[in-house]
């Protein structure tokens, strides 16, 4: 199930909130049980069979966490062995379900291995996210960053927690440990959650989906009929789509979390206003970067070592970051693209860049981010390169045609909204004025209702499907 669906908003969410708040506040453990059960239903909605995989993961990590804690003082060696077992099991499950076919299809190119069978398993939804969360638990317990969770229902609730189950943010156990034991649901937090949720809802439905349509229309144009203007319009809209889609989803997750008393950390911090690639990655999908930093980069030695080792560490992290995004070479390439950019930036460009006017810094950053998305969106590298060529007039029919002018003119207001929504301006303005003026509060309330109705309209419309008989 996804948040931006009618059955989530008008079936799952009301029932879940009803059940959750029907349990008196003092029985927090039972509220966690409600969360576990409803989250499992939420998860099982799309791919019911994988609920069992999820339960297996919870059980393994619960037991491992228990034994790590038990042996940590008395027998550190044994605790470490249990930790390694947990890590191996979790990564094996992830590897098998997500990367098996990718691995085999590459191995089959080696003579003699052509016969290896492909499994064509469907990917369990959110497996990349919840595996990382489960791993963070056992590691945090091992590092004594968090206390062991003795209640399996509470632990299960942590792994399956429906707001961030499918697309993050990737919550580290130590960040929610306390909230699982004690949290304060209250009206201001709930109201703030409603606003955050609606902001995310608007980003996803009103911006990302619309931008996605524009991109899809451009991408669907046959290779020999593209124009330069169309190619730029398409890719820019893709950049908006992926940002608003992902950050919208994170916002909805954070908002839903607040409605049940959780305070999750932000996952995006206006990445498109970054002044360097390094800055971009401090702002983009922060929970993933944090996870890799905490659990991969630092253990490898981070940057407190020789330059060569540091570069190796970065290479490992960016290779894995790329691979995490999908089982295909283009994602790996996308990760390595950022590795190269970051190393160059760190070793050579940094000092020079910071002296340039802000405009050039933004231009430089956005330019490379945009081309990064080409690697990300085209699984087929040669198609991506052709698209890149199109953007610079290679293999296009014209720089622009009248339909491009028509599209750009009519989409200008929408793109302007996207640009403004990519900056912290609206939020800053909102908080500055919200505290001061009553009318701003009234306006914000009205805007919230409006966004909900508008989002709902776009959602309903997306399933509206007039059957035009002259086509058949």
């Amino acid at each position: 199930m996804v948040f931006s669906s009618l059955e989530f908003l008008f079936l799952f969410l009301p029932i879940t909130l009803l059940l959750y708040y029907a349990v008196p506040k003092k029985y927090l453990k039972w509220r966690n049980v409600v969360l576990l059960i409803t989250s499992l239903i939420f998860y099982g909605w799309g791919e019911p069979i994988y609920v069992f995989l999820m339960i297996a993961t919870i059980t393994v990590d619960y037991i491992c966490g228990y034994y790590i804690d038990k042996y940590l003082d008395t027998n550190p060696g044994k605790a470490k062995r249990v930790l390694i077992t947990a890590v191996v099991i979790n990564l094996s499950i992830l590897g098998f379900f997500k990367y098996y076919d990718f691995l085999v299809s590459n191995l089959r190119r080696i003579p003699g291995l052509e016969g290896l069978p492909l499994l064509n398993l469907s990917l369990p939804i959110g497996i990349s996210f919840y595996t990382f969360q489960a791993l963070s638990y056992v590691i945090d317990v091992y590092r004594r960053d968090a206390k062991v969770q003795k209640n399996i229902a509470t632990f299960g609730a942590y792994v399956t927690l429906f707001p961030q189950l499918i697309a993050g943010p990737i919550v580290r156990y130590k960040d929610v440990d306390k909230m699982l034991r004690k949290r304060d649901e209250n009206i201001p937090l709930f109201a703030s959650g409603v606003r955050t949720f609606l902001a995310g809802f608007a980003k996803k439905i009103l911006l990302a989906n619309v931008a996605g349509e524009i991109w899809n229309a451009q991408a669907a144009i046959p290779l020999d009929q593209r124009t330069v203007a169309g190619a730029w319009l398409g890719l820019i809209c893709y950049a908006f789509q992926i940002y608003f889609d992902f950050s919208g989803y994170s916002d909805m997750a954070i908002g839903l979390g607040k409605m049940i008393g959780f305070k999750f950390l932000e996952n995006f911090n206006y990445p498109y206003i970054a002044r360097s690639i390094t800055d971009f990655w401090r702002r983009w999908h922060m929970s993933l970067s944090t996870w890799f930093r905490e659990y991969v980069y630092f253990p490898l030695g981070g940057s407190r070592c020789s330059t060569i080792v540091n570069i190796r560490n970065l290479l490992v992290v960016w290779f894995l970051t790329g691979l995490w995004h999908g089982a295909s070479w283009n994602y790996v390439l996308w990760g390595l693209y950022y590795f190269v950019l970051l190393v160059i930036e760190k070793q050579l460009l940094q000092k020079f860049l910071s002296k340039l006017p802000a405009f050039f810094q933004h231009f430089y950053t956005l330019f490379f981010i945009l081309f990064g998305w080409l690697l990300f969106v085209f699984e087929d590298l040669s198609a991506g390169m052709k698209y890149l060529g199109n953007m610079f007039g290679v293999g296009t029919v014209a720089s622009f045609t009248q339909i491009d002018i028509y599209n750009i003119v009519r989409l200008l207001p929408f793109i302007a909204v996207c640009v403004i929504a990519s900056t912290p301006l609206p939020k800053r303005l909102f908080y500055r004025l919200y505290e001061k003026y009553t009318w701003v509060r009234a306006l914000a309330y009205t805007a919230g209702v409006l966004v909900f109705v508008l989002g709902l309209s776009y959602l309903v419309d997306s399933f509206y499907n007039p059957f035009l008989y002259f086509r058949f």
Partner: protein, 561 residues
């Protein structure tokens, strides 16, 4: 900034700020929570209590009903593979409360944002809704036109003229109404292509229905709209102008379009909302007026839907006027084959119309001049050439809008059954349609004879006579002694009967003609020809019915019907 506890990150500062803001105005916070919960709970409850709809008139399709877990043979299987939950999602989408209202809100918002279109429908001048032309599938267009041109060639060999009339979409015909920046030449290539195929064909008569209608629109010559504002079809007036173009294009002196003044306009509906309107979500657009052009005697026709056998008087099925899909009142919507004949049984020249729904409103005009067989090839899959022959069609009109020509290869099957039809057609000019031996047509028979000059001459005589009478060009071959032969007309020098008379016999699949003492083989063959192949000569007069049998039931002469 006043005192604020130290926080580790920007994020925590932000989170704190949000909550601090929220705490400051408890009333608004309470109202926000209340409204949110109210909306999700009220809509959830409404969804459950409102009765489910079976059919959406707006979308012209059946809606998803509440999925039942029990109807499946493997309920657990459906639950586990996700198809049950997928049905719930569809059920929510299709039965959502106030769905039309939300569609309208979206349509309004898109236009308010300056997007000029919604769901691929452009908001044009004067409240015209114009569907953006989809990207043409040139392969489908080529296939369609190649097929139509081949079909016209075939019909020409049967002496039947074929007209291809192509109708413009609203996009093309009303291009002067489009938003200013919207390109008007997106589909020129399709039109040029149709023109080039027409120019290259010796047998296809092409009528471009876009140009004359477009020029009337551009010059403001028509008294009322030629295309609907809310539907993709032309109006009845548009259909009338197109009818006049088509009749004139036939170029027959005694055939003139009936002038406009002869018709009485009936407003069949003043609240017609077409499919484009449903798609557009722009609910403020006013409905169209749908007209019937009535004329004296327009009830003296019987319209028969051959698919169902159902028939009615006149051309209109008024039961549709109370539904949304009012355009279907013309000819009762899309059917595979519809025949329109005079009620008094008077036979007139027969016109075959292959069409899409645009033609429906034109049929009442054409019916004044022709008996009509109307086909929609999207729903009709039998052989058209055979139908042409069987129904005695004397003219063919292929009429459709450009959208259909370049989206689906609907005419791809037009040639299906052509060879048999052509054959049957040609055969109909011969006095004898077939000769059967032991049930086999002699079409592929061989004339076999012994290697004797006299027999060779007789074989050639027989070959020519069969060719002349049936059109079958049989092979001849020399028959060696003891050769085994099947499916042949054997000229034999053995097996004389005791009486020494001519003897024709059937053995197995072969027909044997024996030489006689008096006549020799040439005489025997001449007797055979005189007796069986020359109508009205020799010993037999052929009876009127089409089968004449002699030489037992194994030999038959088949006459044309």
């Amino acid at each position: 900034m006043n005192k604020r506890p130290e926080k580790n990150t920007d994020q925590e500062i932000l989170l704190d700020l949000q909550i601090r803001c929220a705490a400051k105005t408890p009333a608004v916070e309470k109202l926000t929570v209340f409204t949110f919960l109210l909306l999700i709970f009220v809509l959830a409850i409404l969804f459950f209590i409102l009765p489910d709809k079976a059919f959406s008139e707006q979308e012209n399709r059946a809606l998803q009903q509440a999925p039942k877990i029990s109807y499946s043979e493997k309920p657990l299987g459906r639950l586990l593979d996700g198809s049950y939950t997928a049905d719930i999602a569809k059920y929510y989408a299709d039965q959502f409360p106030a769905r039309d209202l939300f569609i309208g809100v979206k349509g309004f918002t898109e236009i308010a944002l300056g997007k000029k279109e919604n769901n691929s429908v452009l908001l044009a001048k004067d409240g015209y809704l114009i569907t953006r032309p989809s990207d043409p599938d040139y392969e489908a267009l080529e296939e369609n036109l190649a097929s139509v041109a081949d079909f016209a060639d075939l019909m020409k060999r049967m002496d039947i003229p074929v007209t291809l009339a192509v109708i413009g979409r609203t996009y093309e015909a009303m291009s002067s109404y489009l938003p200013d920046s919207f390109p008007k030449d997106l589909t020129n290539r399709s039109w040029d292509y149709v023109q080039s195929v027409a120019d290259g064909s010796q047998s296809l008569h092409y009528v471009n229905l876009l140009e004359p209608l477009k020029s009337m629109i551009d010059n403001g010559q028509a008294p009322r709209p030629i295309y609907y504002r809310t539907a993709h079809h032309w109006t009845t007036l548009g259909a009338y102008y197109a009818y006049a173009e088509i009749i004139n294009s036939f170029g027959q002196k005694n055939l003139q379009p009936v002038p406009l003044s002869k018709f009485t306009i009936e407003n069949a509906s003043t609240s017609f909302y077409g499919t484009t309107w449903s798609k557009a979500g722009m609910k403020w657009i006013k409905p169209d007026v749908m007209e019937y052009f009535r004329y004296e005697g327009d009830n003296d026709y019987i319209t028969t839907i051959e698919d169902t056998g159902q028939s009615f008087t006149g051309f209109y099925d008024r039961s549709y006027l109370s539904k949304k899909d009012k355009y279907s009142s013309f000819l009762s919507g899309n059917n595979g084959r519809t025949d329109i004949l005079r009620a008094d049984g008077q036979k007139r020249e027969k016109l075959l119309v292959m069409k899409d729904s645009f033609a429906h409103s034109m049929i009442p005009f054409l019916a004044m001049h022709y008996d009509l067989v109307v086909l929609d090839l999207r729903y009709y899959s039998e052989s058209v050439p055979k139908l042409v022959l069987k129904e005695g069609i004397s003219r063919v009109l292929i009429i459709g809008n450009m959208e259909n020509l370049c989206q689906t290869p609907v005419y791809g099957n037009l040639y299906y059954g052509a060879e048999q039809a052509l054959d049957a057609y040609n055969r109909s000019f011969y006095p004898i349609r077939d000769i059967r031996v032991n049930g086999n047509s002699i079409e592929n028979y061989t004339i076999a004879y012994p290697d004797i000059p006299e027999y060779e001459k007789a074989a050639s005589l027989l070959h020519d006579a069969i060719l002349e009478k049936t059109g079958f060009d049989l092979n001849t071959m020399i028959l060696k002694e003891y050769d085994d032969i099947d499916r042949a007309i054997v000229l034999s020098d053995t097996g004389l009967s005791a009486e020494g008379l001519v003897k024709f016999s059937v053995d197995g699949n072969n027909l044997t003609i024996c030489s006689t003492a008096q006549e020799g083989i040439i005489g025997a063959v001449e007797t055979f020809i005189d007796t069986y192949l020359k109508e009205g000569t020799g010993a037999f007069n052929f009876p009127a019915d089409y089968v004449y049998t002699d030489l037992s039931g194994e030999f038959a002469i088949i006459m044309p019907e």
